[in-house]
């Protein structure tokens, strides 16, 4: 595959030179992101017992991509480097691999756009199909194949694609194909105060198992007891969706409904019989549905966003034997606030593809130039009404003048640790987390930001305090000193009240950014948009280099 990619690019460059335009005729862009970890064992925080801590002492993840664009023609290539990486298996795995992680070509020909290679894309909000990259979560499920889209009119576009999903430097066997149509309609009424617009769309995606995948499924199913057995299933699964965005003045309403034909899926919470015993996790065969809607209002300093969804049996993967973030074909929008402070973001609810009923209300109001406030409520249950997640979040921002800004907030969370982290015999985590942030600008170049928060909880690791000081000397330097302290610790989780200090320096010059820091980090769950990954405890030095050109 790599030879193919390099040969292709060599051919493409020669060809372009041959046309007498040269590569300088277009625009070259790209970027490098490199994360280096130097491990320093600390058994007291469970940063030990992995190959990285015991013998390798070092890991690197790096991505270098170069894109070329000229006159409707686009091409890109990316080198992926993983040295002793724990991205793909944070529970002690160590992966080394170097190669072409992505390449693509695309060309606009009149109203037709064609693309081939590793393609990122989505239909609607992603409920039936989303091919995307999220490096911190080790997700790169690009479709290796071809795509064509055609503009029927300036406001209507149809799209179709076919290929296989990427995994590391390989591909899964199943074939994924799909098509969608998206439009834009303006309903003008000269008498109306606002313009009504609609952005309707519909899509369908089909996944066809390959023979090794079918064999893998059969090899598991044939050992099922009669009470759990699945006698037959289909090689093809179809997922279809209809969606629309309606905008009218300050209101925006998004609605989407999706259906998936019956297929074999892995349900981690259902029990499979084995003789007289039973084990958690088994294959089931069922159809799936998702209903999702969001209504937002923004005007006169007031912003309101209400979201709701109901998911049932909508795990859609290239292979049902795959677990965690592997082989995901789709994405379902998360229904909780994206928190950024260290303690308020410690517990995140991951999307439950097999069943979830959730809603979220977010209200923000800007009183005047000095005062802002926001309040958020998130509510997530499973379909049996078991409480999975609750969050109440309130925040007030006070900006007395251009030099000073205060943020004060309080978060209340209830978090089902068994469902989200698979931890056994543990109660739901219940937290109260007040926090405060103060920003002072000494002058146009220098500013200091001080952050303090406390998480009071009797569950998991117990209560935490967190403090951070960030000094920014624009345009180049930034220094962060922080500490997270397990002041009221749970003796079942840790033997002492651990400190998790970090000290990091950032240097930015143009689009180049460097960082170097000594970091101790407690284990936890890292999420982006409700897709989560276990992040093990860390002790050591981290260095990063990132640039775009």
């Amino acid at each position: 595959m790599q030879k193919l990619a390099l040969t292709f690019f060599g051919f493409f460059l020669v060809l372009w030179q041959g046309y007498g335009q040269g590569i300088t005729g277009g625009k070259v862009s790209g970027g490098l992101q490199t994360n280096l970890n130097f491990f320093m064992k600390d058994a007291s925080i469970n940063a030990a017992n992995t190959p990285q801590y015991e013998t390798q002492l070092y890991s690197a993840d790096s991505w270098l991509n170069v894109n070329y664009n000229t006159k409707g023609f686009e091409a890109g290539i990316r080198l992926d480097v993983y040295n002793h990486s724990y991205l793909f298996n944070p529970n002690g795995g160590s992966y080394t691999g170097i190669g072409i992680g992505n390449w693509y070509v695309a060309k606009q020909i009149d109203k037709l756009n064609i693309a081939g290679g590793y393609l990122y894309d989505q239909i609607g909000s992603g409920i039936i199909y989303r091919a995307y990259e999220e490096r911190p979560l080790a997700i790169d499920n690009a479709l290796f194949g071809v795509r064509a889209s055609y503009d029927l009119t300036p406001n209507w576009r149809v799209k179709g694609f076919t290929g296989q999903q990427k995994f590391q430097f390989d591909r899964y066997g199943a074939i994924i194909k799909g098509a969608s149509i998206d439009g834009f309609i303006t309903v003008s009424d000269s008498a109306a105060k606002h313009t009504l617009t609609l952005s309707p769309g519909a899509g369908v995606v089909a996944r066809t198992f390959d023979n090794p995948t079918i064999e893998g499924i059969n090899n598991v199913l044939k050992y099922y007891e009669p009470i759990d057995s699945i006698a037959t299933y289909k090689s093809n699964t179809y997922a279809m969706t209809v969606y629309n965005t309606l905008s009218y003045g300050p209101f925006t309403l998004y609605t989407e409904a999706a259906y998936k034909t019956p297929e074999v899926m892995y349900s981690p919470t259902e029990f499979r019989h084995i003789g007289l015993d039973s084990s958690a996790g088994k294959f089931i065969k069922a159809a799936g549905t998702v209903f999702y809607g969001s209504l937002s209002y923004a005007d006169h300093g007031l912003g309101i966003n209400i979201e709701g969804k109901r998911t049932k049996n909508f795990s859609f993967r290239t292979d049902p034997n795959l677990l965690l973030n592997r082989g995901l074909i789709n994405y379902i929008p998360a229904m909780s606030r994206v928190n950024t402070y260290r303690l308020t973001s410690r517990y995140n609810p991951a999307i439950q593809f097999m069943g979830e009923y959730a809603f979220q209300v977010d209200v923000q109001y800007r009183f005047n130039d000095h005062w802002n406030a926001l309040i958020n409520y998130s509510h997530i249950n499973d379909l049996n009404d078991v409480k999975l997640y609750r969050e109440i979040y309130g925040e007030v921002t006070f900006k007395p003048n251009k030099k000073n800004q205060f943020i004060l907030g309080l978060q209340r969370q209830e978090y089902n640790q068994y469902i989200y982290e698979g931890k056994v015999s543990v109660p739901n985590v219940e937290t109260f987390t007040p926090y405060i942030e103060y920003l002072h600008k000494f002058n146009r170049k220098t500013a200091i930001r001080v952050e303090g928060s406390m998480m009071a909880t009797r569950q998991d690791y117990g209560s935490w305090a967190f403090g951070l000081v960030e000094l920014t000397i624009a345009p180049h330097w930034s220094f962060v000193i922080a500490d997270m302290y397990n002041y009221d610790y749970n003796p079942e989780k840790t033997k002492k009240a651990n400190n998790y200090p970090s000290i990091i320096a950032f240097y930015t010059r143009g689009s180049n950014r460097f960082s170097l820091g000594y970091i101790k980090q407690v284990e936890g769950i890292v999420c982006t948009g409700g897709i989560c990954r276990y992040e093990p405890a860390f002790s050591g030095v981290k260095a990063t280099v990132s640039t775009t050109f």
Partner: protein
């Protein structure tokens, strides 16, 4: 609707049923597990189920290894025993290191170049039938003599080649123990009186296997004898729950530092 009609045209895949297999082949399933491993009892039950389905053709060894194998310290569920052993940890390293638990091997083979040595329990299901259908290149007989008073065990292992073969053949002999009652995290709960089976206790041969030679010839049987005194019974090391497991590997067929298993056998210390 068109899709629905189209979908109806498709021929459904019929899940095959497990077939009876009559074979002299005895396969070895090694389970790298731990008392703190939430999902490990699932693999253990899967292996027990296979041993039941293919009665006499499946031998299992459960190695409790770092760090999920370390004793439970939670109040009320503290482990009585530490099942981890240096040999178990070393063997796991030899097979490519810790990649998450439960992890199992079938005959110490790599069935797919993409896969690791240590597989999920469901991965072995795809290969066990073909392994059981293969003709064994050796047959292993175990004969145990146990003195209950002195707790001395004398084990004689006879290896009978069934076909001419060349390689680097090794004999591995160890003791496993069933029915050890101790704590285990089982899916969503701590279980205080979980029954641990096939627990690896000690090697009688070397971990790397005792050298048998480079050629197997039918009629030229090989024999090895081992003597071992069982430690005093203290809730475990119950002689009637102990088994001798023997298996032959070919080190010339290796991907890491262990050879593929040609045949395995198991016999209770006390019949």
């Amino acid at each position: 609707m068109a899709l629905g009609l189209w979908s109806c045209q498709e021929t459904e895949i019929v899940v095959p049923r497990v077939k009876e297999i009559v074979s002299d082949r005895v396969v070895l399933i090694e389970d790298f597990t731990g008392v703190q491993c939430t999902n490990c009892p699932n693999a253990s039950r899967e292996i027990s189920s296979l041993a039941h389905k293919y009665n006499g053709n499946v031998v299992a060894i459960a190695y409790h290894t770092d760090f999920l194998g370390l004793p439970i310290t939670k109040d009320g569920y503290k482990s009585k025993y530490n099942f981890t052993t240096p040999d178990g940890n070393l063997l796991e390293e030899e097979m490519g290191g810790y990649q998450g638990k439960p992890a199992v091997t079938l005959n110490r083979k790599l069935y797919d170049a993409q896969q690791e040595y240590l597989l999920t329990s469901s991965s072995i299901l795809g290969n066990i039938e073909s392994e059981l259908r293969s003709i064994p290149r050796v047959v292993i007989d175990i004969e145990n003599q146990y003195d209950a008073e002195t707790r001395k065990l004398r084990t004689k292992v006879d290896i009978k080649p069934q076909a001419v073969a060349s390689g680097d053949f090794r004999l591995h002999v160890c003791i496993t123990e069933d029915k050890i009652i101790d704590s285990q995290i089982d899916n969503i709960v701590y279980v205080k009186d979980y029954e641990h089976n096939h627990v690896f206790r000690t090697m009688l041969s070397t971990l790397a296997g005792d050298i048998l030679g480079t050629d197997l010839v039918p009629g030229s049987n090989l024999s090895r004898t081992y003597e071992y005194t069982l430690p005093p019974e203290a809730g475990w090391w119950v002689a009637s729950h102990c088994n001798v497991v023997a298996f032959v590997t070919d080190l010339s067929q290796k991907a890491f530092n262990v050879g593929a298993v040609l045949q395995a056998a198991e016999k209770h210390v006390i019949e």
